[in-house]
Symmetry: none
Amino acid sequence: MAEKEKIVVQTSVKDESLIEIRRLQIVNGAVNLFKEKGFHRATTREIAKAAGFSIGTLYEYIRTKEDVLYLVSDHIYDKVKQQLAEINSDTGTVDELKEAIKQYFCLIDRMSDEFTIMYQETKSLSKEAMHYVFDKEFEMVRLFEGIIKNSLPSLRIELTEKEVFLTANHIVVQGQAWAFRKWAFKKRYTIEEYVEDQTKLILSGLLHFQDK
Amino acid sequence: MAEKEKIVVQTSVKDESLIEIRRLQIVNGAVNLFKEKGFHRATTREIAKAAGFSIGTLYEYIRTKEDVLYLVSDHIYDKVKQQLAEINSDTGTVDELKEAIKQYFCLIDRMSDEFTIMYQETKSLSKEAMHYVFDKEFEMVRLFEGIIKNSLPSLRIELTEKEVFLTANHIVVQGQAWAFRKWAFKKRYTIEEYVEDQTKLILSGLLHFQDK
Amino acid sequence: MAEKEKIVVQTSVKDESLIEIRRLQIVNGAVNLFKEKGFHRATTREIAKAAGFSIGTLYEYIRTKEDVLYLVSDHIYDKVKQQLAEINSDTGTVDELKEAIKQYFCLIDRMSDEFTIMYQETKSLSKEAMHYVFDKEFEMVRLFEGIIKNSLPSLRIELTEKEVFLTANHIVVQGQAWAFRKWAFKKRYTIEEYVEDQTKLILSGLLHFQDK
Amino acid sequence: MAEKEKIVVQTSVKDESLIEIRRLQIVNGAVNLFKEKGFHRATTREIAKAAGFSIGTLYEYIRTKEDVLYLVSDHIYDKVKQQLAEINSDTGTVDELKEAIKQYFCLIDRMSDEFTIMYQETKSLSKEAMHYVFDKEFEMVRLFEGIIKNSLPSLRIELTEKEVFLTANHIVVQGQAWAFRKWAFKKRYTIEEYVEDQTKLILSGLLHFQDK
DNA sequence: CATGAATGAGCCTTCATTCAT
DNA sequence: TATGAATGAAGGCTCATTCAT
């Protein structure tokens, strides 16, 4: 699970700490903007304004508009990874899996705008940047695969690689579904109920995979 | 489940059958194009060319570029509905549900480009058109809810409304996931294997929802 | 005052009487249309529709869109000339002048839309057609010059050529002013009052030109 | 005679003095261009070129092509007002009226292109802008009404409101006529002669309005 | 003669990017 | 470093005109 090299967004500014500050401004402004109008409909002028400075300055910290999308995607994944890292307590019990599912879904609920942006706009990235982002998604699947595998002994079941993958995939995808269709799901579900039912579904799937 | 009025894309051409023909050309051309560059990056000139005629002619059959996206979305949903209508043999057995899942997944496999476009670009539609498309997605969920409910007696199980919804939703969303991530899934799965395992997962979920 | 050759608008239709009918349809439709949106904003499709047939047919009777404007201008001037011809009773009295003024102003009141179109849009004609129209305007001035000259003996005054011209010009221009600014004038004047006061003004101008 | 609020043409440029400079460039370029081809036939690219910069820059100072026409109209009226303000010496003599007429006609002679454009193209403006321009024309009429009224006592004559209006209107309209038909008038008149004869005509009209 | 679908030049406008200050 | 005016390629769309039926 070797960490891929981050794609470096070039700047003409030297002061590293300033770069950090400005980019945070860019990302925060852009997330709000993209949420509202999407990447393509947002202009660089608007991005600059949302970030709190002029276009001239914006272009001191990015090279192309696409860099902003990359910056946003990257920032979101960093947040996700960091959040998920906190759960991984390595006890190897079902509760750990349950907890991971819960944390992941709650994270998505909190950051649903960001998730939506990422999945809707990723395609607009360059091939290179796009694969970097997709890879991050697969890391997430792999993360859940790990947690699931760890919990199998305590559940006294054996699953094929494929079945583990399918379950991990289920978790990740249903999480995304909540982000995308939140407004529709909310008519029937609170996030807590959704987590509860999804967890039941996932566990029963796990337990009875081989039945039929 | 009253059918919503179709949003009519205005034309300046009078010959109805010609409209049908040209729009099919537009949709087919556009799907290929959007697949490659996305809706925003595709120009109207390119769309016209892909359809096989001039921009002038393109604009005889649409009013705005957005209409093309709407046309594509609409076309896809029509196909899905038609496909699913064919299986609905109303036997009320599990086999019917299995068949429906299979048909749906295979349809998605065949039309994964179209599906991907729809979900990636829907957000670019006008509010009105966007909701029309989203509604169609929910129709699809409801369609599966119906099939699931029908199969419950033969399975001798009872489920809450929510549980039925969640399962139907699972089917629809995992189908979409195959469309989006086909290139990644294909490393591990053929569509047949995916259908088989998803079916197992769905059925075991159904059977054991109440277990825990 | 030799009549200039009419500029011939070419057709591909042979039947002369049909041409006459169709052109009248075109002119009538176009006047209403130009009144509302002006020449440039009116499309050929709209012109055809207003005329009561298809674009294809429209183009059987004209060669370019500009032809329509020329046809309209020509038609209006024909009407004006015909109307003014009716007054010229050659009695050589002041009453004849008064009557001519009255007829001219009333004509303009009745055809103010047509006049407005002509003066607003003439500039859009080709150089050739434009001069043809302008010449017609000068014919009108000359017409009044003739009437004024005729009335001078009975008024026992002598005027220079220039003064006659200036007065004739005054009549023509103030008539146009009524057409253009009808909506504003109407707040203060009925056409009858306007005619009365203008007549007074013109005659006193005539009588006392040499005073000061 | 409360000054109407100017319709503000929006800019994305902040430097006010630069806006002033660029707009003058736009107006000057546009006048030459419109003179030659009219508003509708002139393209925005041509306007930009005539102004001396790129379209991009043009659109930094206007919002739509129509704005250019509005800018031109506005500029002309400002000049007229300024010019007439300079004479208004409030002596209340006939000479003041004569001087005003002379100044107005000379101004029109100098700016006949601009005037022609204004009257030919005003109709192409939006309803709002069109009325703003028309109002300015009426301000001009009112301005002359004021000067005429002031001169009445010294002429020992009394006129009705309508007669004053008619005379003021005569001045304004005959001024415009000079602008429109300059090329034709010049065959017979120099501007000085035209002013002289028009002045005579106007004054004799004034003096003998009530005679008959 | 009449029709109307097809064409494509060309228009207005936007916006990512640059660069002098 | 920060600014924002300048640039022009490119995009969406219109509409006069043609021509096969």
